[in-house]
């Protein structure tokens, strides 16, 4: 390794997902000189919804109305769960800061403080979540009030059927109706791609013609609200929706689509813009392929082996995610942590990784594997000591949680990012 680094900083955040971005935000707010490196390709798989805690215990399938009651029960039942290591006050504060930051950067969020909400999904299921992009919020209210609502699908858009959602949800939302629209200016035999359409709505004239086409489909139907697949603009989505809603004279909201999705893209772009404004140095689409702990910090290599950027930092925050994020890797026998070769808590053998039923309500044991930390979220070696006083971890790489089944993905990422940054702050006084 070279001894003359290209970049010197207080904190290197490794990972460009929600956990890494939240950590970079919190660190920058404190005044740490922060660098964030990592591949963002996965963020577009994010839905844009911010779950806090929906189901506990997963095996019971119990969906909680209050995420805070669920968190309290979790702390009782699963003291090793990473969210049990963060106080309820801190969790709320972290979430508020993160969504506040997104709102300030143009991606507004809404929630009912202390209460989970539900929104319709393209599979015809209802998703329980906590904070919702403003573009989807009228859907939460329409469902609560059981309003008459028309879901409008798009001819040529794959993976989204208005009829599927409306028919599947009839038992819980009898006021749902469905219709399909042919987008203006398109040869209607063509496939519709969400991103170009979303971008096209930035132009006022396109917006007007789309709104008129939508109004024609709605006609005189007695509906209070109209739902559309989440592709109503990329930036400036709130103004676009308000503009169209005025023309159709109904509340208008988005229903998430299957990823990679526009809300995921919005999240990615908003995070990048906001973090840059905060002075975070972003080394995006660059992977950290080596990080060497040193006495006073870390020396990390970023980018390519042939011409790496070297980063010297006082601390490293590991938010590299699980298998999809490549923070963990599995061969036929064992799961490993990819950067520091940290011990990974895991089932004894591969036959115990997954259950025989994909939808087994208990979840798959492999999803509770991960790295173990102390209370300050510092990864532990096999002798249960922190690997380095200034190495921290956050997000889904942490052991003893199953965010997919507990519906706590964003909450887990944001709260542990907060905790890890606060721990670093405490260590350096």
């Amino acid at each position: 390794m070279t001894t003359d680094p290209n970049i010197d900083c207080d904190l290197l955040v490794i990972g460009a997902g929600v956990a890494g971005s939240a950590a970079a935000l919190f660190a920058a707010d404190i005044g740490f000189n922060t660098v964030q490196a990592g591949i963002t390709s996965q963020t577009i798989f994010a839905s844009g919804l911010m779950d806090l805690m929906g189901v506990h215990p997963p095996a019971s399938g119990r969906v909680w109305r209050s995420p805070h009651d669920a968190l309290a029960a979790l702390a009782q039942d699963e003291p090793r769960h990473p969210l049990a290591r963060v106080s309820p006050v801190e969790i709320d504060q972290a979430l508020k800061m993160f969504t506040g930051f997104l709102s300030d950067t143009g991606l507004s969020y809404r929630c009912r403080p202390g209460r989970n909400v539900r929104i319709p999904m393209p599979t015809g299921t209802l998703k329980t979540t906590y904070c919702v992009p403003l573009s989807m919020w009228p859907g939460v209210k329409a469902l609560e009030k059981q309003q008459a609502c028309l879901i409008v699908g798009v001819h040529g858009l794959r993976g989204f059927s208005a009829r599927q959602i409306s028919e599947s949800l009839q038992p819980v939302w009898p006021g749902l109706r469905h219709a399909n629209i042919r987008l203006p200016d398109r040869g209607y035999r063509e496939e519709i791609f969400a991103e170009p359409f979303a971008r096209s709505l930035a132009v006022k004239d396109n917006r007007r013609r789309f709104a008129e086409a939508l109004a024609t489909v709605i006609g005189q139907k007695p509906v209070d609200a109209v739902a559309f697949p989440a592709m109503l603009g990329l930036g400036n989505v709130n103004d676009i929706i308000a503009d169209i809603a005025k023309t159709i004279a109904r509340a208008l909201f988005e229903i998430p689509t299957m990823p990679p999705s526009i809300p995921g893209l919005r999240l990615k772009e908003t995070l990048e813009e906001g973090l840059r404004q905060k002075g975070v140095l972003l080394l995006r689409q660059q992977r950290v392929f080596a990080s060497q702990p040193q006495k006073d910090g870390f020396l990390s290599l970023v980018g390519t082996r042939e011409a790496p950027t070297t980063v010297r930092s006082r601390a490293v925050l590991l938010a590299t995610g699980r298998f999809l994020g490549k923070g963990l890797h599995a061969d036929r026998k064992k799961i490993r942590e990819t950067l520091f070769d940290l011990p990974v808590h895991q089932p004894e053998k591969r036959s115990d990784w997954h259950r025989t039923d994909f939808l087994d309500s208990r979840g798959h044991p492999v999803n509770r594997s991960g790295i173990e930390t102390d209370d300050a979220l510092r990864p532990l070696t096999s002798s249960k000591q922190p690997l380095h006083p200034h190495l921290f971890a956050a997000g889904s790489i942490l052991a003893h949680q199953d965010w997919m089944r507990a519906k706590c993905g964003a909450g887990l990422s944001i709260a542990t990012a907060w905790k890890a940054v606060q721990s670093f702050k405490a260590k350096v006084g």
Binding site: P122, T123, R158, S161, E190, D331, T356, L359
Partner: protein, 536 residues
């Protein structure tokens, strides 16, 4: 079109009338054997009804290597089967060229394999009439570069690859065109037996719960590994072993020819190419119950390690899916090694058990299905006094449009030829567009089936590519709603069933890239959509 169950009415437990169908022959089982019999009988002008409790090829016919045996594999253990395979294999290449990829095959030995066996092999092949040619090691490595550098011997034989789905569907297609009636999702629940004859078979429609009776002059049990269960309903017993075999599908095709390990039949010693993939197997594990079987992690690890001795890159290869089938092996439940049980078939006339119009055909191989059908149809015709002779030996199997889409790599070629921008791709991994799904839906309706993700998956490559249904499952479900083929909450149930079924095949091979794919799948289906919470 297939007509509705007939007009006469029988009485079921005296509560309400039950529809009743009359026919000359009732065939139980919609695998390759039942399909072959249906076609053979239809060509002789015999009217028949075929019932299948799931969908076509739900048992061993849909869960095998897709290997058209030259017979070389059985030259030591079972020369009788070897000769049968030789004759039938070469016949099928001529009669059903559409279903066969004539790849040729190699038998290879590596350092450490029994050299005496290697030395005896060519003579044993010749004794069974099998064309065998020695290939020197450098040439073998040249024509099959994936082979181990530790190769010591290689022989060329006329093995080939066969598409079992296409084969079964083409047989059924012609049978139906000639008047055979086909009932899927129709399970035999009981026989009514009077004076040593099966008077009627009581069948339950598994989709509606409705029951109907089939009154047939003759009943043939072609239910493969379930033959024992079916025979027992008529009070007959069969000595039958259920032997589970697990197989693995690679992400990309590794070999040009079928590659067999040159040693006495053992585990994981055959790699069969088919279209754009290769299939590695098998194991042989005795099971009691042919239902609810799936490949285990232990079996998969074993198959990979063993296969790698012959093809080293199997250690690093990405596998897409594993599956398991049950071989019905007849007549030797006392033998300790199931591999030594004859792979020939058994045609059992239950007249000997006191039921004069009932027989069971089971055992055998995919390669010899035609011969099995011929012998069975001969027995039935003797009983019914039909003098027409078998025609399948000389009449080619007609290709049918809706049976083309199971072949790996076929759909992408067709799509590339057509280049129709309006034909939206529902499955990107295997390139199955909307128009193919439309065609399959028509064919499913024609055969009294129900289009959903599972039935479309059987008939096409949907769900069989790298994403294993993660994206194409959602896209296809949405499409089925938009064209009114799904309604209410059926889509959710169909998605759940489809993903559960796909899972059974990926669970044992979730490491490296496949584990990443599985995580993405769960993040979507459970993390985002909460499909597991709506399990009603």
């Amino acid at each position: 079109m297939v007509s509705e169950p007939g007009a006469t009415h029988a009485v079921d437990t005296g509560i309400r009338p039950m529809k009743s169908i009359e026919t000359q022959v009732l065939i139980i089982g919609g695998g390759i054997t039942g399909a072959g019999i249906a076609r053979d009988l239809a060509l002789r002008g015999v009217r028949c009804v075929l019932i299948e409790k799931h969908d076509i090829n739900a048992g061993a016919s849909g869960a095998n290597h897709g290997l058209l045996h030259s017979g070389a594999r059985y030259v030591t253990s079972d020369p009788g089967s070897a000769a049968e395979c030789r004759v039938e294999g070469s016949l099928l290449k001529k009669m059903a060229p559409d279903c066969v990829e004539d790849t040729g095959g190699l038998f290879v030995a590596v350092e450490g394999d029994d050299e005496r066996y290697v030395a005896e092999f060519p003579a044993l092949c010749r004794a069974c009439g099998i064309a065998v040619e020695p290939v020197d090691v450098p040439t073998a490595l040249d024509i099959e570069p994936a082979l181990s550098r530790r190769l010591i011997a290689a022989f060329q034989v006329p093995d080939a690859a066969v598409d079992p789905f296409k084969l079964t569907m083409q047989n059924l297609h012609q049978a139906v065109a000639l008047g055979c009636r086909l009932f899927r999702h129709s399970k035999l629940v009981d026989f009514t037996i009077t004076q040593g004859r099966i008077a009627s078979a009581i069948v339950s429609n598994e989709l509606t719960g409705e029951r109907f009776a089939v009154k047939a002059g003759y009943v043939i049990n072609a239910s493969g590994a379930w033959a024992r269960v079916v025979a027992r309903l008529a009070g007959c017993t069969i000595d039958l072993i259920c032997s589970k075999g697990s197989l693995l599908v690679t992400h990309e095709r590794i070999n040009h020819r079928v590659i067999n390990r040159l040693r006495p039949s053992s585990n994981a010693d055959i790699l069969v190419p088919g279209g754009t993939v290769s299939i590695l197997g098998t194991t042989s594990v005795r099971v009691e119950d042919p239902d609810h079987i799936f490949p285990t992690v232990k079996e998969i690890d074993f198959i990979v390690s063993e296969g790698a001795a012959m093809i080293p890159q199997l250690e690093q290869t990405r596998f897409i899916r594993a599956y398991a089938g049950v071989r019905p092996l007849v007549g030797s439940s006392k033998k300790s090694d199931d591999r030594s049980v004859s792979r020939s078939f058994a045609l059992i006339d239950h007249a000997d058990d006191g039921i004069v119009n009932f027989a069971t055909i089971t055992g055998g191989k995919l390669t010899t299905y035609r011969l099995m059908a011929e012998k069975t149809a001969d027995l039935i015709c003797r009983h019914l006094g039909v003098s027409a002779v078998c025609r399948t030996r000389h009449e080619p199997l007609p290709a049918a449009d809706a049976t083309r889409w199971t072949e790996a790599g076929y759909a992408p070629r067709q799509w590339a030829k057509k280049r129709d921008a309006g034909d939206i791709m529902l499955c990107e991994c295997e390139m199955v567009p909307k128009s193919v799904v439309d065609e399959l839906i028509d064919s499913i309706h024609e055969h009294n089936g129900r289009p959903d993700l599972t039935s479309l998956g059987i008939r096409s490559r949907i769900g069989k590519g790298a994403c294993q249904g993660t994206f194409c499952g959602l896209r296809t479900a949405a499409y089925l709603y938009d064209i009114n083929e799904l309604k209410g909450r059926e889509g959710l149930h169909s998605i759940q069933a489809f993903m559960r079924e796909r899972w059974r095949g990926v669970r044992p091979l979730l490491w490296d890239t496949s584990l990443i794919q599985a995580e993405l799948q769960e993040a979507l289906y459970c993390g985002l959509f909460g499909v597991e919470l709506n399990d009603d």
